[in-house]
Amino acid sequence: MPIDTAALDASLDRLRKSPHETDVARALRRIVDSVHELLGYDGAGIMLIDEHERLLYVAASNEAGRSLEQAQANAEQGPCHDTYVQGRMVSTKDVRADARWPQLAAVLDERVRAVAGAPILLGGSPVGTLNVFRSEPGEWDDADVAALRAYADLAGELVTAALSSQEHSVTAAQLQYALDYRVVIERAIGYLMATHRIDAVSAFNRLRRQARDSRRRVADLAAEILDGTAP
């Protein structure tokens, strides 16, 4: 690792004395602005998971892109949803014609066509997604994928550092919840996949729906499923 830790320490000691803004959401918004302006897409956004396992925007470049949040919440399906659950890049050349998400076209802004999402990882587990879209159908090439993945990794470094610095903000609290409970939720999803012979997205939706219907947190239900006390 080509890092001079002595020099890094000396520099961080100096920066430590300098007050700074404490909401990582602002830094994430700057990444969205950067992606939007530099990569030339029609929109970009970052969504993070909340305690109900809903993907919510912390930053979006415009309203068309923001419709991805509500549309996927309503349809319980979509490329960002899959990116988060599967923890890998997911893309589509035309989300409105993609058979993977048949419910989505009816509730999505018409200006959103080609969509790509990259997971934002915290401690190796997904806690959100960085997504981009174009208003015309089209393929995503290797350069698009590499740049999006690199930006998502940068966002992951930022949220990791925000938690390490014990930042006090709504976003940090949201991330801490995701970090604390991600493992139990992933294990419950795995259990449901094996028990019901369903894929990860279906297991995730089943878990989330059951939690919502019983007015419990997803993490609490996941723990009950794993210890055999869930109804």
């Binding site: 080509p2 001079d4 520099s11 100096r14 300098s18 950067s34 690199a150 390490s164």
Partner: protein
């Protein structure tokens, strides 16, 4: 985006720009011998723990992909305000920074002193004896774009994008560099706020 504006313009001539020695000098009064502590390159020895060093290393690699440069390296000011080599997306990036630290000059120093991006198309073609030594020490790096990393308006250091072949840095390169420098600042101030390990050294 235009290449230049009055207060924030990079010099994209082959020789790059030279900051006044008086301005740059405050960064040059004392530097650490990069070879004095070879173990300092090892991860996990810092007071901020291995995660800080690893986070910087991963961020620099991501920035190299985004910028499509051959690599990205970082110099930051220490407690005395001296620019020190902190890291690179690859070993040659850290060596570029050690070369600038050793020679007490280079695009990073000029960028921090002037408070704006400084682009050097070819280190070997740059005027001055110091730059000739720098070019030899920094080989195989040839072209460097240095962008200030600002924390609360002040330059805390510089991010260096580099190529192994001579390169004319465009306004697009500079725009990407400035955005990534902002993200570097966002990351560094958070790493600086992490719990310090006082017992490990």
């Amino acid at each position: 985006m235009a290449d230049n504006d009055a207060g924030h313009s990079p010099d994209t001539t082959p020789q790059g720009s030279r900051a006044p020695q008086g301005a740059a000098g405050r960064w040059n009064e004392r530097t650490t011998d990069p070879d004095s502590d070879p173990a300092s390159r090892l991860p996990g020895r810092g007071r901020y723990g291995p995660s800080a060093a690893q986070g910087v290393a991963r961020a620099l690699r991501s920035m190299a992909v985004i910028s499509q440069a051959d690599g990205v390296a970082l110099m930051l000011a220490d407690g005395q305000g001296q620019l020190r080599a902190v890291g690179g997306s690859s070993a040659e990036g850290l060596d570029l920074e050690y070369a600038q630290q050793r020679e007490q000059l280079g695009p990073a120093h000029e960028s921090v002193a002037a408070g704006r991006p400084v682009a050097v198309a070819d280190l070997r073609g740059h005027d001055g004896d110091g730059y000739q030594r720098l070019a030899r020490r920094a080989a195989p790096v040839r072209a460097v774009l240095a962008v200030p990393v600002r924390v609360r308006g002040s330059a805390a250091g510089a991010l260096n994008f580099y190529r192994r072949t001579p390169c004319h840095w465009t306004s697009d390169h500079i725009a990407v560099g400035q955005r990534l420098a902002d993200t570097a600042a966002d990351l560094l101030v958070r790493l600086a706020g992490t719990t310090i390990d006082h017992g490990g050294r």
